[in-house]
């Protein structure tokens, strides 16, 4: 009796977790199944199996061009975010200056603003200073929204590190650059990796900002997918989503094998 009483919450919790995952994953599963349909339109259940919609992805050139742009801008914005975000964190995370918090809040502010507002405002600002609709503008706008992810994760890791590690290295004669390279950087690397991953995914999936900077050679995949869906009902977008999902899973496996997902969330 006592055993039953204690196991009931466990069963309920297990049931809740299973239902939660079904609720979250079922729509994704439907998209994956639909991407293999033999029908010429989206319908579920599917009448038969086919891989023709995956072939369509490669036939329709804008999908591939946009995929390349998306990857390029995601890598570029992530690199820029790290180049700008890591030094900013090293200074701001331990600064006692009154304005340090204000600067950090300012840099994190894109997280609390609707992306469509950032996209619209960036378009007008960057056009006013002569950068306009271009890959440069797209990269700058994406960096603005990716930077907070690097800042959050790196600042979180760095603020939790004892100063004594860096002080010990300095007392032993290491130059500031050597302290950074041999002590600080290895310690904050999990934060940088986690921030980079968030940054990459945020940029790769972004629609509201990319939308305003789309041109003949700067359209990203979400913009082309949206535009495609305006007048086309075939399941090629489902196939593309399945491919994106596959790429994300492969990327996670590769990152896990090379670096370890655990190390990105737990400071070494």
């Amino acid at each position: 009796m006592r055993r039953n009483q204690s196991s009931l919450p466990d069963v309920a919790l297990l049931a809740f977790v299973v239902l939660f995952f079904v609720f979250m994953l079922a729509p994704i599963l439907v998209v994956v199944v639909v991407s293999f349909t033999s029908a010429g339109f989206v319908a579920f259940p599917i009448p038969g199996w086919s891989t023709k919609w995956f072939a369509r992805i490669f036939e329709y050139r804008p999908f591939i061009d946009a995929l390349i742009v998306s990857i390029e801008v995601a890598i570029g914005a992530t690199l820029l975010s790290c180049l700008l975000g890591v030094p900013a964190c090293l200074y701001l995370a331990r600064s006692r200056a009154k304005w340090a918090n204000a600067v950090m809040t300012f840099l994190l502010s894109p997280l609390s603003m609707p992306m469509i507002v950032i996209g619209f405002a960036s378009l007008f600002f960057l056009s006013a200073i002569g950068i306009g609709v271009s890959f440069t503008a797209l990269l700058i706008a994406h960096t603005v929204v990716c930077l907070p992810y690097v800042l959050r994760t790196v600042a979180g890791v760095y603020a939790g590190l004892p100063r004594s590690y860096e002080e010990a290295a300095a007392i032993l004669g290491a130059s500031p650059l050597a302290v950074f390279w041999h002590v600080t950087l290895p310690l904050i690397r999990p934060g940088i990796m986690a921030g980079s991953l968030f940054s990459f995914l945020t940029s790769f999936d972004n629609l509201p900002i990319s939308y305003f900077f789309g041109s003949a050679d700067t359209n990203t995949l979400p913009v082309v997918m949206l535009s495609y869906l305006e007048h086309q009902f075939d399941p090629s977008v489902a196939a593309l989503s399945t491919l994106q999902l596959l790429l994300a899973v492969i990327a996670l496996i590769v990152v896990d094998r090379i670096y370890g997902i655990d190390r990105m969330t737990v400071s070494s």
């Binding site: 056009s127 503008a137 305003f212 495609y228």
Partner: protein, 349 residues
């Protein structure tokens, strides 16, 4: 057009910052052939634009037309942000946004001097966007139904409302989140039921009567999902999209133009001020009868050049624009927000 390309940045620089600053201006440096940037929706629309308009333009001029995919709000914002040097040379717009562009004086007047083929486009279609553009392609917002479950479809908006109210079938109508809903549903149904721009009470009363037997679609593809899953048997939808769906294998679907006339949902073409003058040549190709015939055949939508002769397949499908209800776009734009507000209060979906 005048900025760095992604290749110049990511390919050239070993240092990101230096790459950003010194990546170069390859379009200036390598400006051998004249280029313009035109706009298109993605998918079959873009493929039709390339085949029917871009190819003849490039053949005649030797210039290149780059196709920018996206949507009208995006292109209008881009032109508005940089009117002195617009990043696109030709705009494809919905009539309401075309009117906004015209009012903001962002686009050029359309004249036969610049566009000889404009002479073959009915004047009403140019006037509807204040003479600063013209409608070259249109769909009709009518009644789409599942032939297998609705053997006797409603022939008019009146009949549609009566039979849906009685629960004879479940109908799918566009939700207010879809941009064209105020025109294709609110105005069109209000007009058919005796109202108009100044009086949309008949529409809201009809919606109240039908509310138990209605589902809503937020994006065009939702409608087909509702129809194919059996969630709805009939609905207010577009002719061209319906026929495209039919041609893709959904032979159970059909469309009719309501007796009162479904709303005309046009696609306008415009030229931003300060855009490359070569854009006129491209727009003239868009207005050409033979090019429009090919475009209509691919898209299953009506086109506007009076010399166009539709193929046999299209003859039974295309509703002449004169048999549609032509929306007063400008008047609708003035009251649109009030309608949306009332929809949110009374319908809420």
């Amino acid at each position: 057009m005048r900025n760095l390309t992604r290749r110049s940045i990511l390919g050239a620089g070993t240092v990101m910052g230096a790459g950003l600053l010194t990546g170069g201006f390859p379009r200036f440096a390598g400006a051998q052939a004249k280029e313009i940037t035109v706009t298109a929706f993605g998918g079959v629309w873009e493929e039709a634009v390339r085949t029917c308009f871009v190819a003849p333009f490039e053949q005649k001029t030797g210039a290149k037309a780059n196709v920018s995919l996206g949507g009208p709000p995006q292109w209008l914002a881009q032109v508005e942000a940089d009117p002195q040097d617009p990043p696109v040379d030709v705009l494809i717009m919905t009539p309401d946004l075309a009117l906004s562009a015209a009012k903001a004086d962002l686009v050029d007047d359309f004249t036969v001097a610049n566009l000889p083929n404009l002479a073959k486009t009915p004047q009403e279609l140019t006037d509807s966007v204040a003479g600063k553009g013209t409608i070259f392609d249109y769909g009709v917002g009518g009644i789409t139904f599942n032939k297998e479950t609705v053997s006797q479809p409603p022939k008019s908006f009146h009949e549609f409302v009566d039979r849906v109210s009685k629960g004879e079938f479940v109908a799918s109508v566009p939700s207010i989140s879809y941009a064209v809903t105020p025109i294709m549903l609110i105005w069109a149904m209000a007009k058919a039921l005796g109202g108009g721009v100044d009086n949309v009470d008949p529409f809201f009363e009809a919606m109240a009567k039908m509310k138990d037997n209605l589902v809503f679609w937020g994006a065009p593809n939702d409608f087909f999902n509702q129809m194919s899953s059996g969630e709805a048997d009939v609905g207010i939808y577009f002719d061209g999209r319906t026929w495209n769906h039919y041609d893709s294998g959904a032979t159970w679907i059909d469309f009719l133009n309501p007796e009162e006339g479904g709303s005309l949902n046009g696609v306008a073409v415009q030229k931003p001020k300060n855009a490359d003058p070569l854009a006129w040549t491209y727009i003239n190709e868009i207005l050409d009868a033979r090019n429009q015939e090919k475009f209509a055949d691919i898209m299953n939508y009506g086109v506007t050049n009076t010399d166009v002769k539709y193929s046999e397949k299209l003859n039974g499908r295309i509703t002449p624009w004169q048999k549609t209800a032509f929306p007063p776009y400008e008047e609708i734009a003035k009251v649109r927000n009030d309608w949306v507000d009332r929809w949110n209060r009374e319908i809420g979906r």
